[in-house]
C-alpha cells in the first residue's frame, strides 16, 4: 500500500513537471515563432508601441503612405511591406485570457514575402488577388474550431468576408490567424491609411543595424528593430521563465527523491530480516544493493509513465482552458505540445531520481546482519 502511494506521489510530481514544463515550452515556442514571419527584416513600429517579439500589442498607428515613402527614400532599403496586425480578435464574443486569435492585413502583392511558401489545405482555394476584395484565408486551427471551410462566409464588424483558402502551417500564429488584403483589414478595423508594422528588407550586404539607426534618425516617430534586437527584448523574459521552470522542476524532483528515500527506508527497515537472511545465505552485497535500487527504479518507471500520461493530458487541458480552444482540437497535436524527447527526458530523470533515492536505503540493506537482527528481535 505504501509503495502504491509512493508511486502515486512520483506520478503526481511527474504530472506537475510535465504539465508546467510543456505549457511553458509551448508558450516560449510560440513567442519565438513570432519572429519567423519577419526573419531577416527590420521591423518599423510606432515609437510608443508595445511589442512582443514581432507582434505589436499596443501603441499608436503609423500613417501608412508618408511613412512608407520616407523609408523607401532611405539608402539600403530594398523593399517595404506595410502590415496591419490586430490582436486579439473577438470571435463569438469569447473572452480570451491569452490572445489566441489574430488578424493580419497584408498588401496582396506582398503575401509571399511575409507568409513564404505556406500551402493551402488540400491545395483547395487560392490566396486573395484583389486588394479591395472581401476574400480572406484562415489558419487551419481556427477553421477546425469553427468548422470553416473554403467558401464559408464570415461576418466581421458588419463586413461579409469569404474564406478562399485554409493555411496549412506548423506556426501557431498563422494557425490562429485571419489573413486578408491590407485595405480590407483597414476598413474592417477602422484604420484607413494606417498600419502598425512596416517591414523593411535591407539591400543585400546592407547592415540591419545601420539601417535601423538611419530610419530612427530620419523618422522621429518610429522605432526600428533588427531581428537581434527583437530577440534581445524578449530573451531575458524567456530566460527567466525557463529558469523558474527549471527551479520548479528541481524542487519537485528533490521532493520526489525525499519521498522515495523515506518510503524505501521504511520498507527496508521492515524487511530487515529478509535482507539479513540474504546476507546469512552469502548473497553478494552488490546483489542486495541492486535489489533495492531495482525496486526504487520500478517506482520511477511506473510513477514516471503514469505521470507522463496524466501530465500530457493536464497540459492539454490547461492550454484548452487558457485559449478557449476545444480540448479535442489539441489531441492530434499532443506530440507537438509535449514533444517525445521532452517526455523521454523527464522519464529518464524521474527514474534517475528514484534510483538516487534508493541509494541510502540500499546501503542500509547491505548492512543488515542476521545476528544483530535476531538479537534485536528477541
Amino acid at each position: 500500500m505504501r509503495t502504491v502511494l509512493c508511486i502515486i506521489g512520483v506520478a503526481l510530481a511527474t504530472t506537475f513537471v510535465i504539465a508546467v514544463g510543456a505549457t511553458t515550452m509551448r508558450y516560449t515556442t510560440v513567442i519565438k515563432e513570432m519572429n519567423v514571419l519577419f526573419s531577416g527584416q527590420v521591423m518599423v513600429v510606432s515609437k510608443d508601441a508595445i511589442i512582443i517579439q514581432a507582434i505589436p500589442i499596443g501603441g499608436s498607428m503609423l500613417p501608412q503612405s508618408s511613412t512608407v515613402e520616407k523609408i523607401k527614400n532611405i539608402a539600403g532599403v530594398e523593399k517595404t511591406v506595410p502590415i496591419l496586425f490586430i490582436t486579439p480578435i473577438d470571435i463569438g464574443g469569447i473572452l480570451q485570457p491569452v490572445p489566441v486569435n489574430f488578424s493580419m492585413g497584408i498588401p496582396v502583392e506582398d503575401w509571399q514575402l511575409i507568409l513564404g511558401p505556406t500551402p493551402l489545405k488540400g491545395n483547395v482555394g487560392h490566396f486573395p488577388t484583389n486588394e479591395s476584395s472581401n476574400e480572406v484565408v484562415v489558419g487551419a486551427s481556427l477553421a477546425d474550431q469553427y468548422e470553416w471551410s473554403v467558401g464559408t462566409k464570415l461576418n466581421f464588424s458588419d463586413y461579409e468576408l469569404e474564406i478562399v483558402g485554409i493555411l496549412t502551417t506548423k506556426l501557431a500564429l498563422l494557425n490562429r490567424c485571419v489573413v486578408m488584403p491590407l485595405k480590407l483589414a483597414q476598413k474592417i478595423y477602422s484604420s484607413l491609411g494606417s498600419v502598425n508594422i512596416i517591414t523593411v528588407k535591407p539591400l543585400q550586404g546592407y547592415s540591419q543595424k545601420n539601417l535601423t539607426d538611419t530610419i530612427e534618425e530620419q523618422i522621429a516617430y518610429v522605432s526600428a528593430l533588427t531581428e537581434d534586437k527583437r530577440n534581445d527584448m524578449i530573451q531575458p523574459i524567456l530566460a527567466q521563465v525557463e529558469t523558474w521552470n527549471l527551479g520548479i522542476q528541481t524542487v519537485v524532483f528533490i521532493m520526489s527523491l525525499i519521498l522515495v528515500m523515506t518510503v524505501t527506508l521504511m520498507s527496508v527497515s521492515e524487511r530487515r530480516r529478509d535482507f539479513a537472511t540474504l546476507d546469512a545465505m552469502g548473497a553478494p552485497l552488490s546483489h542486495v544493493f541492486r535489489l533495492v535500487i531495482l525496486e526504487t527504479s520500478l517506482i520511477g518507471v511506473l510513477g514516471g509513465a503514469l505521470g507522463i500520461f496524466f501530465g500530457s493530458l493536464t497540459a492539454l487541458v490547461l492550454a484548452s482552458l487558457y485559449t478557449n480552444i476545444p480540448l479535442a482540437q489539441f489531441f492530434p497535436s499532443i506530440l507537438e505540445f509535449v514533444p517525445p524527447f521532452y517526455m523521454l527526458e523527464i522519464f529518464v530523470t524521474i527514474i534517475a531520481v528514484c534510483c538516487l533515492g534508493g541509494i541510502i536505503p540500499a546501503i542500509n540493506a547491505t548492512r543488515m546482519r542476521i545476528a544483530e537482527v535476531l538479537r534485536a528481535e528477541y
Partner: protein
C-alpha cells in the same frame, strides 16, 4: 569441512554494561558429524552458531575452517563460504515472504549464478526430497509451520553445503512435525555425509547426536 575454534569470545556492549555471550570456547567440528549444542535461552547458543557460521565476528579468539584462519579472510570471501559451503536453518524459518516455496529454494542457486533451468531442476528435486512437491507454488503464509521449515531445509541444501547450521529448528514446531524435521536432518547427515550442527532444547535431537555440547553463560562443555 572441519571447523575449529580457539578461545572464541563474543562480548556485546549494552550501554555501559558488557555481556559475554560466548566465553573462550574451544570447539572442534569434524566432517559428517551430527553435533547438538544444548543450553537454556540466553546461554549463547545462537551467538556461537552465528560465529561459526561466519555471520558474526568474535571479540577475541579465532575460527579455523580447514585450518585456514577466518580472521584473515575478507568479508567477500566469508560470504562465498557461506553461500557455497554452508547452509542455515533458522528457528523462525526466515523464508522470503514474497517468493513461493520453489523460488525460495532457487534463491541460493540464483546467487551462485547457476543457469535458470538448473536452478529449477535442483529446487524441484530438493522440495520433492522434503516431501513438498505438491506445495511448490505456495507462498510462506500459505504453508503450515512444518512445511515452512521443510522449505527452509531444502533451501539450506540448495548449494550442496558441507555443513548445515540449524538454530533451534524444532523450536516453533509441534512434537509430530518436530520429529519429522529431526528425522530429515539425520537423514541428510547420514546419506549426504553433511555435517549438522544444531542448537536445541529438543531431547530427541540430543539423544541421537554424535557429539553433545552444553553451553551455560557462554561457556561450552563437551557432554559426550
Amino acid at each position: 569441512m572441519r571447523i575449529r575454534t580457539t578461545d572464541l569470545t563474543r562480548i556485546y556492549r549494552l550501554g555501559q554494561s558488557e555481556i559475554t555471550a560466548v566465553n573462550k570456547v574451544n570447539l572442534e567440528i569434524n566432517e559428517a558429524t551430527f553435533i547438538a549444542i544444548v543450553g537454556p535461552s540466553g546461554s549463547g547458543k545462537s551467538t556461537l552458531l552465528h560465529l561459526i557460521g561466519l555471520n558474526d565476528y568474535p571479540t577475541q579468539g579465532k575460527i579455523f575452517i580447514d585450518d585456514a584462519d577466518i580472521s584473515l579472510l575478507s568479508s567477500r570471501e566469508c560470504r562465498k563460504i557461506r553461500l557455497l559451503r554452508m547452509g542455515f536453518v533458522f528457528q523462525t524459518f526466515n523464508l522470503l515472504p514474497t517468493l513461493n516455496a520453489l523460488e525460495n529454494v532457487e534463491l541460493p542457486l540464483a546467487l551462485t549464478g547457476k543457469p535458470r533451468k538448473e536452478q529449477r531442476e535442483k529446487a524441484l528435486r530438493l522440495l520433492e526430497a522434503v516431501g513438498l512437491s505438491n506445495r511448490l507454488f505456495h507462498r510462506p503464509k500459505e504453508l503450515s509451520i512444518g512445511e515452512m521449515q521443510r522449505v527452509a531445509i531444502a533451501r539450506a541444501l540448495a548449494n550442496d553445503p558441507e555443513i548445515i547450521i540449524a538454530d533451534e529448528p524444532t523450536g516453533e514446531l509441534d512434537s509430530k512435525t518436530a520429529k519429522e524435521i529431526i528425522a530429515l536432518l539425520f537423514d541428510i547427515n547420514r546419506k549426504e555425509k553433511t555435517t549438522v550442527v544444531v542448537a536445541t532444547h529438543d531431547e530427541k535431537i540430543v539423544d541421537a547426536a554424535d557429539t553433545i555440547y552444553t553451553i551455560q553463560d557462554g561457556v561450552l562443555r563437551l557432554e559426550g
